[in-house]
């Protein structure tokens, strides 16, 4: 598996999408930095971390993750490399799992970039109340939210295998980000898989009447359904040249 991940990184060499995703990871901290400096919205590190985590995991991550997963799977079709990879030979299930693991690794990198860039922007803005514990806590919450969000993206694997160009994933990701905005604060928000991760990681789930285990259940069910249909589709379908 390590070799697969190493090779996935090699595949990203000179790739613009990796750089773009890093820029995307910096965008929420940058926007919050602008809000703080230009509009005076809060002057503490705690508020900055909270806001960045919220906008990242509830909005930006949804869009960026959709693009990343679509790229990871779709490029193998679009660049006709799938037939090369599978005839090495690589089993279809191993291929599917290694791609999904690479997606997780990519997410962890983006989380690190978001957290550290938030810290840097906070220092530039001269915010008060920084502590190492606060930073670690904020990073852990964002990482947890993003990992849970990662689980909810298995249906996007199927979409990427079914429609191999990136447009449906981008539209889907943008649509989900909007859905998240709309349902946030609604009673039934914990039933929406792509909002749950933020609600659980931030602790806001406690404000809802739905128990946290239901939210975990929604995430797990989404993950399993997405993986099962992706596996069934990918292992049964002929490879298009």
């Amino acid at each position: 598996m390590l070799t697969f991940i190493e090779m996935e990184f090699l595949k990203l060499k000179r790739s613009k999408i990796f750089l773009l995703s890093l820029m995307g990871a910096i965008l929420p901290p940058l926007l919050m930095f602008i809000a703080v400096t230009a509009f005076g919205e809060g002057n503490t590190f705690e508020l900055l971390f909270t806001n960045v985590n919220m906008y990242t995991s509830a909005m930006f991550s949804v869009l960026i993750f959709a693009i990343i997963i679509s790229y990871l799977f779709g490029r193998e079709y679009n660049e006709h490399t799938l037939k090369t990879m599978l005839t090495i030979p690589v089993s279809r299930s191993k291929f599917l799992v290694s791609k999904y693991v690479m997606f997780l690794v990519w997410i962890v990198i983006l989380t690190v970039v978001t957290s550290f860039s938030t810290l840097v922007f906070g220092l530039i803005a001269g915010l008060e109340g920084f502590s190492l514990m606060l930073f670690i806590d904020s990073f852990a919450r964002l990482l947890y939210a993003n990992v849970l969000l990662f689980l909810t993206f298995s249906p996007f694997v199927f979409i990427s295998l079914f429609i191999t160009n990136m447009v449906p994933a981008m539209v889907g990701g943008a649509g989900l980000a909007l859905v998240n905005l709309m349902v946030y604060g609604q009673n039934w928000a914990p039933f929406v898989p792509w909002v749950c991760p933020y609600l659980i990681a931030s602790g806001e789930i406690a404000k809802y009447s739905t128990s946290v285990s239901v939210a975990y259940g929604v995430i797990l069910a989404t993950f399993l359904i997405g993986m099962i249909i992706s596996y069934m589709y990918f292992t049964k379908k002929d490879i298009t040249l």
């Binding site: 070799t3 697969f4 190493e6 090779m7 090699l10 595949k11 060499k13 000179r14 790739s15 490029r75 660049e79 006709h80 490399t81 799938l82 037939k83 090369t84 990879m85 599978l86 005839t87 090495i88 030979p89 690589v90 089993s91 049964k236 002929d238 490879i239 040249l241």
Partner: protein
Amino acid sequence: MVDYVIKTNQLSKTYSKNKVVDSVNMHVERGKIYGLLGKNGAGKTTTMCMLLNLTYPSSGEIFLFGKNPKKHSDELYSKIGSIIETPGFYENLTAYENLKIISKIRGDFDPYTINSVLKMVNLDQHGSKQFKDFSLGMKQRLGIAAAIMHSPELLILDEPINGLDPFGIKEIRDLLKRLSREFGITILISSHILSEIENIADVIGFMDDGVLIEEISKEDLHDRLNKFVEFEVSDIDLALNIFKVLELKENEDFTVSGSTIYLYTHLSLRDKFNALFVNAGIDVGKVNLCEENLEEFFTRFVSNN
């Protein structure tokens, strides 16, 4: 007992109600070059995809190296190198990087092997060039490099000389012949360039409308090619009268086109016919003993079947 590296039994593939490969029984002998010949849409690529497990058969069986690939997938496919249609590689990477990915995943990465195989296909001078900037010929050559890099026992090559210039075609032809003769690699190659198949293959499989019509060895093929004598004469009517007197029948024993007669029977008497023409005062501009080429044979063969 003949050692078949590829053997299929009633192999078929149906898309909706369209049967694109129909009960193919293919026999590829170890160490031979097997040319799969057919028009576009004949089912060559689908057959190869089924052999490589990229496409699942609707029915029938495949045996590779005498074993069922469903049960021995890793063992069998690691002995195979392939190109299906245009080779697919990562566009942002160089030739070396692309081959590195393949060999790392296969578990046999060796920089020296990659460099030598790139040299073998004349891609060693393009170190920093990314795949997206490759010409079609370069892409094909990289595909061949990837296919032979792990010293496979079987090569399955679908139109590998597509996009190559005449020099490139000759290079690849020589390389494939060398791989077969020196290393005993079995090669299944498809091409729409009939002369190339004729040049390279030991056995030719004729495919049309999803059906493998026949597998013919090169020796048998030579015996089955139509032969004829071409007479170019100054007085066609007089020449035809002579044939009429000799009770030769048009469209049966010979055909006529302009001032040329194509004689298909009694070929050994061509010098006698020539003498008769000359004695009758006919100038004979050309007397050629000709053999049908593969293209003509293929056209006749497919239309007859």
